[in-house]
């Protein structure tokens, strides 16, 4: 690690890859955190977890006893065991006693993506409540036609504030916070909608997974869904000839108006680019319309071929969806205990074989991916498994819950994983700090003195600001290991 820091300082290593390297290092050492503990006030299974997207500091949890709680994951409320154990007690707890609280289980609790002043809860009592965080009052509520399974808001939406809600009902509804009404009703699923997810590349694209096993893509600016994923569709198909492809690529720029049949789409394409015109995302976003524009689509939409309309992504219900950070791939979990990776651009099943053992079937689960989409965290019954997204191999297994795990959330900022399960616990999994040992190792880099008359390693570091960051943790560890050591009395 010190070597890398030096390389970064000297410019050999670019800051971006340096941070990626550190992150992946830390990711590979995630384990149950002993020094960080979230005190869960819930009396029912924890169904939903989310850390706010603005500060990365406040964890929101919703549980099936109709309670919601907010924790500060950065600053502990109190310490135990001489500072060894940081306890994070809820800053805010709302339960059934609250006058506008939910009556039944909360299935989904999400932050308003723009700031932490609002959060949204969806519940089995058919309601979606929008709460003011500071006053803990309901500022708005939507009555849904059935149990709410999942709510979602687009993290990159700049032009709308829509809550997508998957419910028992076959229709997906979009609730507009600005007007307080349903702005869209998306029909297509043949059964309840377990899970909804906004695209991370386009603010208009919504992905929904239903109990009928279908995963549908919706462009909310247009009626109907534009794609249904088919689990047996795994080949890209024949590529168009090179020249033709070049021509079609030029089309949007040169002949945009000449294409009569796609006139309904075309004028909006530039508009969309304007709406979220930041670099890397654009390429991914522009691929979707190009796909939309392919020849098959014209026949499919709006009245898609019934054969394609009936395609399924999983046998059984789709219980979890997660779009990777770059918006190129979609991970889906089904009650058939399969995890599938989809190429969004082509709608192909990539056929990556994830070594899942068993997934719980009754409930929606919440998946999480790391920032670089190298790992996906999947609740598998009582444990959480981390799979390599591209190979499907199990990288890590987190065993700690005593009941089924429902949800997990990966904090990009701290490389920490939060998991909530039916045993009412919220566990924190963090990169092990024991590899702080490595910091001491290269004596050639810093002058480190050990005063080790006692088994407690007291290290004095004379320079290096980097080291000082770790120092107090290191001392903490030292204290811990001093007491927790071998004791062969005979």
């Amino acid at each position: 690690m010190w070597k890398e820091i030096r390389e970064r300082e000297s410019g050999k290593l670019r800051p971006n890859s340096f941070s990626n390297r550190i992150r992946s290092d830390r990711n590979s050492s995630i384990q149950l955190s002993n020094y960080k503990e979230i005190v869960s006030p819930h009396r029912g299974s924890v169904n939903s977890l989310q850390v706010d997207l603005t500060e990365g500091r406040y964890l929101l949890s919703g549980a099936s006893d109709a309670s919601v709680a907010i924790y500060d994951v950065q600053c502990a409320t109190d310490y135990e065991g001489g500072g060894l154990l940081a306890k994070h007690k809820p800053l805010v707890t709302i339960d059934k006693q609250h006058e506008h609280g939910h009556k039944y289980a909360i299935s989904s609790a999400i932050w308003y993506p723009v700031d932490t002043g609002l959060f949204i809860t969806g519940s089995y009592d058919h309601r979606i409540n929008i709460w003011d965080t500071n006053t803990t009052q309901v500022v708005m509520n939507f009555k849904m036609p059935g149990k709410v399974y999942r709510t979602a808001m687009s993290s990159l939406a700049a032009s709308h504030m829509l809550i997508a809600a998957g419910t028992e009902d076959v229709q997906v509804r979009l609730c507009d916070i600005a007007s307080g009404a349903f702005s869209h009703t998306l029909s297509g699923h043949r059964d309840g909608v377990m899970t909804v997810e906004w695209s991370t590349s386009s603010e208009w694209v919504l992905v929904t997974g239903g109990c009928d096993g279908a995963i549908r893509f919706w462009d909310i600016r247009r009626a109907g869904c534009f794609r249904v994923l088919n689990q047996s569709h795994s080949q890209l198909g024949r590529r168009p000839p090179l020249l033709q492809r070049a021509a079609t690529n030029k089309v949007p720029t040169s002949k945009s108006l000449s294409k009569g049949q796609s006139s309904s789409v075309k004028p909006r394409a530039p508009q969309r680019k304007m709406a979220h015109g930041n670099g890397s995302k654009q390429s991914a976003a522009s691929k979707i319309p190009s796909q939309v524009k392919s020849s098959a689509r014209q026949r499919l939409h709006p009245g898609m071929l019934s054969s394609q309309d009936r395609a399924t992504a999983h046998y059984g219900a789709v219980i979890g969806l997660k779009v990777t950070g770059d918006g190129m791939f979609l991970l889906s979990a089904g009650s058939d205990s399969r995890l599938r990776l989809w190429d969004i651009e082509s709608g192909c099943n990539t056929l990556v074989n994830f070594e899942t053992v068993r997934l719980q079937t009754g409930k929606a689960i919440q998946l999480a991916t790391t920032q670089d989409s190298a790992l996906v965290f999947v609740p598998c019954m009582t444990s959480v498994k981390a799979f390599d997204v591209w190979s499907g191999a199990t990288v890590l297994t987190f065993r700690g819950h005593y009941e089924h795990v429902n949800c997990c959330w990966y904090s990009l900022q701290d490389q920490e994983l939060y998991t909530g399960g039916n045993d009412r616990q919220i566990l924190v999994w963090s990169p092990s700090k024991w590899n702080a040992n490595e910091l001491v190792h290269p004596l050639n880099f810093e002058t480190v003195f050990f005063i080790s008359a006692t088994p407690i390693p007291v290290s004095l570091v004379l320079s290096s600001q980097h080291y000082l960051v770790f120092q107090d943790e290191w001392l903490k560890m030292g204290k811990a290991s001093a007491l927790d050591q071998d004791n062969w009395s005979d």
């Binding site: 955190s33 700690g400 005593y402 071998d486 004791n487 062969w488 009395s489």
Partner: protein, 649 residues
Amino acid sequence: MMMMEEEREKVVVVGLIEKATNSTAAEVDPRLLKAIKSVVRHSDSELRLAAQTLMNLMKRDHSQVRYLALLIIDELFMRSKLFRTLVVENLDQLLTLSVGFRRNLPLPAPPSVASVLRSKAVELLEKWNVSYGLYYRQLRLGFDHLKNTLRFQFPNLQANAVRIQQERREREMRTREILVNKFETLKETFLSIKDELQSTIDEIGECLEIVIASDEPMPLGLLDDEEMEEFRCSELRRIRLDSLKEGNKVQETSDNKVVFDALRELYRLLVTKHLVSVQEWVSVLTRVEVADNRCRDSMLKEFIDIRNNLKSVKKKCEESGCSLPDTRNNEEEDIWEEGTFESFENRSSVLNYQSDDSSIASTSVKVKNKPFENRNKEADVKEKLDCEDSGTDSDPLRSKLLAEAPLMKWGSFLDSWGSKRDYLANQRGLELEGHWGRIDYDAVIPAEKIAELNVQATLYKEDPVEIQPCHAPLSKGGLCQRRDLRVCPFHGPIVPRDDEGKPINQTSLTEEVAPELETNLVDHLAKQAVKNVRDRDKEKAKQREHDKQALKRAKLAKVREHNDAVLRDAALASTSRSSAIGEDVETAGGERSSARNKKQTLASMLKKKVTSKDRLAQRLLNTHARDATERQLTQGEDAKYREAFPNQW
């Protein structure tokens, strides 16, 4: 080579653990445990292997194996950090297998061990959590889950200890507070208390002065040897001694009665109130903890002085002998003494005038007894023993005799121990004056008669024999605590066993042979007994038959025939039944011996235990027993018939 060595050692660890867990005992063999520990201690790879093996053993479908494995896990868990980290990773699995809290994974048979396993696991989890919970989140989680979600009852050792400690501390605090309060009040009232005490002491002193000055001790007469003889019996002697003591005391007369009364009153006050209170204050002062020790010490010193003073005054009072009331239950004794005291008084006063020995006046018992000893040389050892229970003489002969002498209970026969005199029957000091007719004053009870009357009767007391407990190892752990003389009904003959219940001094061969022999012997004896009884029965029956025939020759042939038939029936019944009993014994004995010969194994623990109910059922429901019962019932009917028609017998 190294690899080979390592391989071998690994096998050793696994073998040790498997051997340790393959037992039916309630604990792991300490030697094996020690061996495991010492092997595992030396290398991490072996520790890992041990952890792996133990986890595999925990998956065994046998609660006993799991229990022993859990005990080993605990031993290693409390010692090795690496082992802790290994175990903690799979803690949920371990708890599932040891506590059995998942419904789809209950604990395996045998159920008795399973419940022990569960409680032990819960207890150990609490222990681990208390000692290492801070360092392992998994431990905290597991503990929390079992406690708060599944609501398991934990022994709660630490909390209890803390609570008890707290309670004790509070109690101590309270007592200390009370003591300090007392001390404060004492400081205030110290002077007044002292004054009061002093005044009492002074008054007593004055009273005593008056009493002693007013009376002169009367001269005491000496007892003659002849008279000595008469007072040999201990009761009389005691009276005499008392009177001698009395003699030295000031006699209460009508003149000084007032003074005596005052003295008595003061004495009572002194003993019941002042001495007690002073004692109390002293104890308070010694226990109290205050800032200024100086004040306390000085007070304490003064109090001790006062106490000594009071004691000396009390002693003086007692010595002055103003017939002070017994402070304990004087009321009662006063009433009781009314009747008897008069008669004693007469006699003792008579004695007083006769006794002249000044040495007798001394209060020491020993000195008083010396003259007696000198005078009655012939007095036997027994009497001496009675007289001086705290004999201090170092005479070797005497001590030897004492050692030899039989220990007798006290009784009236001791009065005439060794004497061969005739007793005058009508001269017992009671002047009856012939109310019931003429009295022959010279009537004599001969010595033999006296001896006969005084025959010492003692109850035979059995020597307490320590019946050794059976001490056979029990399946649920511990040793059999039944105390039987020869044979424990559950574990066979009682043999000396060591701490673990293994028989001592017996090789396995003899151990196996002995019960067989025993059972053979038992069978043989039983058969012999049955045979004897049967023979005797037959003889008797024949005899009776003859008698009957002789007596009732005149009876009708029909009746005789009937009788014959009945007799034959009876004989038959008795034979078949007793033979059945013999068989029963035989079969039961055989079974038992075979069961005992079989060593208890893990598999045998899984077998259903034969309960006493089963055994009873087997006994009662077999065909022999049923037939016997039926026969008994029919016999009962026969008996009724016979009663109804007595002439048919």
